[in-house]
């Protein structure tokens, strides 16, 4: 028994010992397996996991740059960035959105429109992006919200910078405005450059100079924990704010010029002839760009769009009008280079007839001007003189010469969407109308009618070119770009307009034309004599009237029967002082009827304000003396008889 037990014990011992050794082998195998796995992760795959670990915790947060400001030529701020308080909600932190919105609405006034806009944003954007519920909270609302903040988990008040136009609508046709980036824009812009930026220039300078104004986005590299909460800032590359733009516009002059239009639809362009600096760029009526910054509501927009006065139309840039008699100086200048002299005289019987045609092209003065010299033809705006001169020159020469003054060509101003206007030619007519050019069309082109179309800006450039004695310079709204403010300010670029063309004509010919244009304003028989009264500087000018509605030959022009929108446009171009032109002004008053009576006074007031600092509206009694007393005869009264195929749509021009 003892033996057996001992034998059993020894056998058991051997058995267990063998099994224990097997366990040691298992132990080593398991340890090596684990070590192998950890080695694989930590050594072999280390780089991959290091990257993943970094991706986990490091996040790039864009810091939007501050948009460049816009100043006028005297340093007045035209577009700035003001802090506004917005109420934002981070959807990922909100458990019950409707309950939160109800709660918030008790503290801050939120309209149903804002709520539906917010909800559609929440649906379309990732839930870790905060969405704006309401912009521009009042200080009181901010205070109430902050006190109750603990109740609104996921809702925050943020201070943001928002574009603001202190001059309201006064500059809108120059500056345009910024608005929120829409879907179409977000497809075309460089997404990286607009990280964190919500606004983009939509129109005007804001759009044209978008690349400069935007600035460069900065980034903050932050470490976040697993819940997305920011732990610390690792690195920061600050944003570079956009460049500031200094315009050539004189804000005060711009405001005054629009004031002088007295609420009429129209446009005033003022240019410094030597430099091409645009001093005033007025289109009336205006609208408030501040309403567009955060998106205008449909009703307000529709009201603007459907307004019969079309405030959204930038007349200064896009309005196209027949230049009327304002081109007569140029046609005369062309004549001086083509065989006519300043002493050439035409007898005006009140009409002109082409050989072999019975059609009478009428002068605005029914009785005629009698023998008319070139000086008198400009001064009194005799149409017959220019029918004959146009007939002498022919359309080809006129097309070429007037084209050099920029008619039918884009001025090259720094705004988008400029039309070219139209200077008709044989080619053009064949191409577009499929008809040959008729001699009668040459005649009416000579008085700035027919197919010819100019924008107010082109009229301004044309006048400046005349003032420069043929030097045509690209008009410029922007003078220079600067970066930073105060002492650190550096100039980035100086954007002078290029000289586009030198119109070749003899110096004495310019003298002749400019002298005649002086007579328009200064001579007792000049068409714009009333606008030249009491000026202590010299003015050269030319009136014009552009027809809006076609009136059949033989029909009598009866202003009283025409509706407001069928009345003629009133034009006036001028520059001063004649010896050393500082300012060229072009005025178009839609349906103003009289270039001398309506447009010229506006130009005179603009020049007085710019050259002498005299504000006509500030001293009404002086203004009455100088500009009122509208006792003169109308500029035109009669209509040509009906029988021509060409000129049926025309009345004589002044």
């Amino acid at each position: 028994m003892e033996n057996l037990e001992l034998k059993d014990y020894l056998r058991e011992t051997n058995l267990i010992h063998a099994r224990l050794i097997a366990l040691v082998v298992l132990l080593v195998a398991m340890a090596l397996l684990l070590l192998g796995r950890v080695w694989y992760l930590q050594i072999y795959q280390n780089q991959r996991f290091e990257v993943l670990s970094k991706d986990n915790r490091v996040r790039l947060i864009p810091i939007p740059p501050v948009r460049g400001q816009i100043y006028d030529r005297n340093g007045k701020v035209l577009a700035e960035n003001i802090p506004v308080f917005t109420l934002e909600i981070l959807p990922s932190e909100v458990r019950d959105m409707d309950a939160l919105l109800d709660d918030v609405a008790r503290i801050v006034q939120v309209s149903p429109g804002e709520i539906s806009k917010f909800k559609s944003l929440v649906r379309s954007r990732p839930n870790f992006e905060a969405q704006i519920l309401k912009v521009s909270l009042t200080e009181e609302e901010v205070a109430r919200f902050v006190v109750n903040q603990h109740r609104f988990f996921g809702a925050y008040v943020q201070a943001r910078l928002q574009r603001h136009y202190p001059y309201g609508g006064e500059m809108v046709h120059v500056l345009g405005y910024v608005g929120r980036i829409n879907r179409r824009e977000s497809e075309s812009i460089d997404k990286a450059a607009y990280k964190g930026t919500e606004y983009i220039g939509k129109l005007g300078i804001e759009s044209k100079y978008e690349d400069y104004l935007l600035g460069e986005v900065g980034f903050e590299q932050v470490e976040t924990n697993a819940h997305g909460r920011r732990v610390r800032t690792l690195d920061r590359s600050p944003p570079v704010s956009g460049e500031d733009i200094h315009l050539n516009i004189d804000a005060e002059l711009q405001v005054k010029a629009r004031e002088y239009l007295e609420g009429r639809r129209g446009s005033v362009i003022a240019i410094e002839p030597a430099s091409g600096d645009v001093l005033a760029f007025v289109s009336n009526p205006i609208y408030d760009p501040n309403k567009f910054v955060n998106g205008i509501d449909h009703r307000s927009y529709n009201a603007l769009r459907d307004d019969i006065d079309r405030p959204l139309l930038n007349r200064a840039l896009n309005g196209r009008y027949a230049p009327g008699s304002t081109v007569k100086g140029l046609v005369a200048l062309a004549g001086l280079g083509n065989g006519w002299t300043k002493n050439t005289s035409v007898v005006c019987p009140g009409y002109y007839q082409l050989k072999g045609s019975s059609h009478r092209y009428r002068c605005w003065r029914r009785g005629g001007h009698g023998p008319t010299s070139m000086l008198e033809s400009i001064m009194q705006s005799c149409d017959v003189f220019y029918y004959q001169l146009a007939n002498h020159l022919g359309i080809d020469k006129m097309h070429e010469f007037l084209g050099r003054f920029g008619i039918g060509k884009r001025t090259g101003i720094d705004l988008e969407g400029e039309p070219s206007g139209l200077m008709p030619s044989r080619d053009w007519k064949k191409r577009v109308r499929g008809n040959p050019w008729y001699p009668g069309e040459t005649l009416i082109t000579g008085i700035g009618q027919g197919y010819m179309l100019v924008t107010p800006l082109q009229l301004g450039v044309m006048t400046a070119t005349l003032a420069n004695r043929g030097e045509r310079i690209e008009p410029r709204l922007v003078d220079r770009l600067t970066h930073g403010s105060g002492e650190g300010q550096q100039q980035i670029a100086n954007l002078q307009g290029r000289m586009l063309e030198q119109v070749v004509a003899r110096g004495e010919d310019y003298d002749t034309i400019i002298e005649a244009m002086r007579a328009v304003v200064e001579h007792p028989r000049g068409t714009a004599r009333r606008s030249g009264l009491n000026a202590d500087y010299t003015i050269a000018g030319k009136t014009g009237t552009a027809q809006v509605v076609a009136i059949a030959q033989g029909a009598k022009y009866d202003a009283s029967k025409l509706t407001e929108f069928q009345k003629d446009h009133a034009l006036f171009v001028s520059f001063a002082p004649v010896e050393d032109p500082q300012i060229a002004v072009a005025v178009i008053v839609e349906n103003g009827e009289s270039g001398s009576g309506v447009a010229a006074p506006v130009a005179r007031k603009v020049m007085d304000f710019y050259l002498r600092g005299i504000d006509a509206n500030a001293a009404p009694e002086v203004a009455n003396d100088a500009f009122n007393g509208d006792d003169a005869e109308p500029d035109y009264v009669e209509i040509a008889p009906a029988n021509s195929s060409v000129a049926t749509t025309l009345r004589p021009q002044t």
């Binding site: 099994r19 132990l27 340890a31 992760l41 930590q42 986990n56």
Partner: protein, 357 residues
């Protein structure tokens, strides 16, 4: 000394592990000293239990085995009837002054009872004895699985299976069982709960659902992998400090450790674990009676199974089952049980020469 007997190699290894635990818990717990204090208290309790158990002669354990097992079994039954439920599982008995987890008792009770059953006859065991041992193993396992507590079930099954293996269960039978297990695997799959199935599926391709089921696995692997050879340094592990690692001071503490101390640290930790296990197997080898040998071998190897299952899970090799990293993870009950096991080992070693059968 003072009549108290310990095993110095085991004791020193365990104390080093305690220090490592406190060091890494300080980092994983967000430098919260409160965690350190409560963990130190648990260590103290566990240490006292170990010292007490180290003084017990192994033949006493042999005699008490059926009673310990019976008490444990009754308590497991009670847990299912009137147990306290926490974290979706019914594991605790509320004894008024503290909550007791009977499954912890069975971590020692089951191997004791299996060894008791097997050593009543000479080894290798005959079929009847094996059936009896299997019953002793399977009944409590089934009760624990029902709680449900898959991690503990697996460890208890492993501890019992180790005893049967050490007792000389034939290699051929093991081969047959392996084939049987493979065949029945699809049926076993049906028995699993959905979240358990999900965990197994996630194991094979955690990147298929990186923000859902695979999130824990992926974040843990990123932590380990980004640690590199030298680690990011104590308190500098971004994955753990920034809370990307789930359960980072309990089950997933190994990813914190390996992120901050790197492969070198992991190597040293392995040396420590293997040394402790090896010392246990050494004690089993050199002790004289069969019951002690079986118990010592099982307790030591089960200890390393904990390590294997935990690290395997954290490193993305094994499905996620709730098994802590022994003696390092934050938490009380399992630490007391493990230290009790080491106390029994020490007792076996201390009394090896006194016994002879």
């Amino acid at each position: 000394m003072f009549g108290i007997k310990v095993d110095l190699p085991l004791l020193s290894g365990l104390l080093i592990l305690f220090v490592v635990s406190l060091v890494i818990l300080y980092s994983a717990g967000g430098e919260d000293t409160g965690i350190l204090v409560s963990q130190s208290l648990r260590m103290l309790v566990a240490f006292v239990v170990m010292m007490a158990f180290a003084q017990v002669r192994p033949d006493s354990w042999f005699r008490w085995s059926p009673y310990i097992f019976a008490v444990g079994l009754v308590m497991l039954g009670l847990v299912l009837l009137v147990g306290y439920t926490g974290k979706g599982a019914q594991r605790w008995l509320d004894l008024g002054f503290f909550r007791f987890q009977p499954s912890e008792l069975m971590k020692i009770g089951v191997p004791m009872m299996v060894a008791w059953v097997l050593t009543r006859k000479s080894l290798p065991p005959n079929n009847l004895t094996l059936v009896l041992a299997a019953l002793v193993l399977l009944v409590p396992s089934a009760l624990i699985l029902k709680q449900p507590d898959l991690g503990t079930t697996i460890m208890i099954m492993a501890s019992g299976a180790l005893i049967i293996f050490l007792a000389g269960f034939s290699w051929r039978s093991m081969g047959v069982l392996t084939v049987l297990a493979a065949v029945s695997a699809p049926f076993m799959w049906q028995m699993l709960r959905d979240y358990q199935k999900q965990r197994i599926l996630t194991l094979f391709d955690p990147w298929s659902d990186p923000l859902g089921a695979g999130y824990h696995s992926i974040q843990s692997m990123i932590a380990i992998g980004s640690g590199g050879a030298q680690g990011k340094g104590w308190l500098n592990g971004s994955q753990s400090q920034l809370e990307f690692i789930p359960e980072r001071h309990t089950d997933f503490i190994f990813s914190v450790f390996s992120e901050e101390f790197g492969f070198i640290g992991v190597l040293m930790l392995f040396v420590l674990y293997v040394a402790l296990t090896g010392r246990g197997l050494y004690i089993a080898y050199y002790t004289k009676d069969t019951y002690s040998r079986l118990l010592a071998g099982s307790l030591s190897m089960t200890f390393f199974f904990y390590v294997f299952v935990n690290i395997g899970m954290v490193a993305g090799m094994l499905p996620v089952v709730g098994v802590p990293l022994p003696l390092i993870s934050y938490g009380g009950t399992s630490m007391v049980t493990l230290m009790a096991g080491f106390g029994i080992l020490m007792g076996i070693h201390n009394h090896r020469s006194l016994l002879s059968r």
